[in-house]
């Protein structure tokens, strides 16, 4: 999630350009336009050629690459798939397909392609690191650790690898091990990457003020570092600076429209401010990155509640608590939705679940935490 991958789209150069027949001349012009950066002309040429020779792997693949370059990932995916139907063992096209999924925010599908690719090319570092990045985005920290741990033993100089492994360890709660892995990066001096790791480490142990300081410095050192604005925004939010958090989430999404946390947190903040339509756009994107994520599903359900779309909210919440039966806020909102739908018995049942879950939470807390008044208590 935090490594600045370069994702080159592989252009398959046709080696038969010298032939003079008409269809081949069309393809030649398309490839030349592609190489010259004129994507519209390239796309037009590839399409023209495919009308004549629809079974051309090269034309489908190159058309996919040109479309991806234009940000038309959905169409690019269709072309890559067509190419793979014709040439199922072509790893370059499979990697391009994975990259297109990644760029589109279909992280689960990207990961599935990369897993298949890794089975064939276990030593392909680009595939491994991109897969690790996908897993981080999907919250699959332990898979990242299992894959990268042995690789790290053999490649201790690879900062990118250390970065991904360290992040996964910290997010998995293995803060001490994570700190050891990232120590090498920190010893290289003050860098945006080092500050980002220090900030996220402090954030994970709830030192929010310290996290804000490090992350602000990371932004200062390299505002283009992937996820730096997202984490800075989260830290600002934890210190109560919602306006600052919104600003940072927007900056992150300018760089990476598929950052899960920035989409989710910005959507949640906008929902609180009743900017429901805009909030829904960000939550939808978060759900594209992590389908069925309970937090994102809950936010979308809450938007539906605020919009008065109670049936839709109910269905989402019922699905959410099936996946996450101890998600208190989801039960709370579902109880409210049932009441608004005049389904008192169902509402009462959900309230009972909330009561039981809260009692369990209280039982796990030290006595001092359950009896102390909240910070905003004041006489009226």
């Amino acid at each position: 999630m935090v490594v600045a991958f370069r994702l080159p789209v592989l252009l398959v150069i046709w080696c038969m350009l010298g032939r003079a027949e008409e269809p081949e001349a069309i393809l030649q012009r398309a490839v030349q336009a592609h190489q010259a950066g004129d994507m519209q002309a390239a796309i037009q040429g590839y399409k023209e050629f495919l009308k004549i020779q629809p079974a051309s792997v090269l034309a489908h693949s190159n058309l996919g690459a040109a479309l991806a370059h234009q940000g038309e990932y959905g169409d690019a995916i269709r072309e890559y798939k067509e190419a793979l139907t014709l040439a199922p063992d072509n790893p370059a096209i499979a990697l391009n397909l994975a990259i297109a999924y990644y760029k589109l925010g279909e992280i689960g599908k990207a990961a599935a392609e990369l897993i298949a690719l890794r089975a064939r090319q276990p030593d392909n570092q680009q595939v491994n690191l991109l897969l690790a990045d996908c897993w981080l985005r999907l919250g699959e920290n332990q898979k990242v650790i299992a894959m990268l741990d042995p690789m790290y033993a053999a490649h201790r100089d690879d900062d990118g690898l250390a970065y991904l492994l360290g992040t996964a360890l910290i997010r998995d709660g293995q803060t001490n091990r994570g700190q050891l892995v990232i120590d090498k990066i920190l010893h290289n001096g003050d860098s945006a990457e080092a500050r980002l790791l220090m900030g996220t480490t402090k954030f994970s142990v709830h030192d929010f003020a310290g996290a804000v300081k490090d992350l602000a410095r990371a932004v200062e050192l390299n505002p283009s570092l992937p996820s730096v604005h997202s984490y800075y925004g989260q830290a600002l939010l934890s210190t109560g600076d919602a306006a600052g958090a919104v600003r940072e989430f927007r900056l992150e999404l300018q760089q990476d429209p598929n950052d899960f946390s920035a989409n989710l947190d910005l959507g949640a903040l906008l929902r609180q401010d009743q900017e429901l339509d805009e909030a829904a756009q960000y939550i939808e994107r978060a759900l594209r990155v992590r389908p069925r994520d309970p937090g994102a599903e809950f936010q979308m359900a809450s938007i539906k509640v605020a919009q008065g779309k109670l049936e839709e909210a109910r269905q989402r919440l019922e699905n959410t608590i099936k996946e996450s039966p101890t998600f208190v806020e989801a039960h709370v909102t579902l109880a409210t939705v049932y009441y608004r739908l005049k389904r008192k018995a169902d509402g009462d049942r959900e309230r009972g679940v909330v009561q039981k879950l809260n009692a369990e939470i209280q039982a796990r807390q030290p006595a001092s935490q359950t009896s102390a008044p909240g910070p905003t208590e004041k006489p009226q």
Binding site: T239, G240, D241, A242, A243, A268, R271, Q272, D273, Q274, S302, V305, A306, V328, E329, A330, V332, T333, A335, T336, Y339, R340, K342, K344, G347, R351, V354, Q355, N358, A359, Q362, T370, S371, A372, P373, G374, P375, T376, E377, K378, P379, Q380
Partner: protein, 336 residues
């Protein structure tokens, strides 16, 4: 995370109560004098600060004072070596139980660490302050309020100032006045002046369902969802009436006999005579075969005296009526 979205927003461009009084004479005459109408007082208008020109309090090594200087209230805290002195910005609460002060310092808002309590006629720690030991004089003076909290506090204690999550102090009307609940009054007035009866329509609050009322009033008095998801649990939530009421066994989200406004008219002073609520209870609990509620075998009057007991809220120097209607057992635990 706050579950359950608010039904309505605090609305901008508040219409002055005097304008509303042009047509809604009865409500406009009584509402500004209610506790909600005085949910916030400007320092210059604050009776408590006027009646108590010098308040003092000692807690640990910190000495506190609030003194009246002209129209100002000056809040001061000292640890014996250094002193922090600031003018009070706003007085939150009419003082029915107490009054807490908010001041601004260096662009940051603080909730005073001490509050005035009516029962003791003086200062004591603000509720919640006992839990955190101050590390310096600023913390001893007050608790820093985060941005959203400032908007939430002013949104519930004033009218016309909060738009989105920003407080526009230039538009602030002290207390909860017409616009805070009814909203859209500017458009309402403009449409009426233009003779547009259809355009003058406003949300009909009295037509809300019981559940909608609980959520509407709960914007400030806290909804069930807010407390259930974020606490506080235990006796500290006794002040949050919509939460308590909707926990009642007899609460029915579709039955208007148990809605907030079935018992309370927000336009008039809250009725203190508990017997006056008997008819509300007996709207359900009457002697008939199909009555929704059972008839009390113990008494025929003063229902709330037993079934809605007044309980002591620690630190508040006041007993609060528990709105979770129930059969109270001797030595029974406080039901959450």
């Amino acid at each position: 995370m706050i579950a359950g979205a608010a039904l309505y927003l605090f609305y901008s461009a508040a219409t002055a109560p005097a304008v509303c009084a042009g047509c809604h004479k009865a409500q406009a005459r009584t509402q500004p004098a209610t506790p909600m109408g005085h949910a916030l007082e400007r320092v210059e208008d604050c009776d408590i600060l006027r009646d108590h020109p010098r308040l003092t309090f000692q807690y640990g090594r910190y000495s506190y004072s609030i003194t009246r200087q002209g129209s100002q209230g000056i809040y001061s805290v000292t640890d014996g070596t250094a002193t922090l002195t600031v003018p009070i910005g706003w007085a939150f609460g009419l003082g029915e139980a107490g009054q807490t002060y908010v001041f601004e310092r260096g662009g940051t808002f603080y909730e005073s660490r001490v509050s005035f309590y009516k029962a003791i006629g003086g200062l004591d720690l603000t509720m919640g302050a006992r839990a955190a030991e101050p590390q310096d004089l600023t913390q001893a003076a007050g608790r820093e309020m985060i941005h959203k909290e400032v908007a939430d506090c002013f949104g519930c204690h004033t009218t016309g100032a909060v738009r989105g999550s920003t407080v526009h102090f230039e538009d602030l009307q002290a207390g909860v006045l017409c616009e805070n609940c009814h909203m859209q009054s500017a458009a309402h007035v403009a449409a009426l002046k233009a003779g547009d009866a259809k355009g003058a329509a406003m949300p009909h609050l009295a037509a809300m369902t019981t559940e909608e009322s609980a959520e509407f009033c709960g914007r400030c008095h806290r909804t069930w969802a807010q407390i259930a998801a974020g606490g506080p649990l235990g006796i500290l939530n006794i002040r949050f009436q919509p939460y308590r009421l909707t926990n009642s066994k007899c609460y029915d989200p579709t039955d208007q006999r148990i809605s907030c406004i079935a018992c309370h008219d927000p336009h008039v002073e809250v009725v203190r005579n508990t017997a006056s609520y008997d008819s509300k209870c007996q709207a359900c609990h009457y002697q008939r075969a199909n009555a929704p509620g059972k008839v009390c075998p113990v008494a025929k009057k003063d229902c709330t005296g037993c079934h809605m007991p007044k309980l002591d809220l620690p630190g508040a120097h006041k007993k609060f009526t528990d709105h979770q209607i129930r059969i109270v057992r001797a030595n029974g635990a406080y039901p959450d």
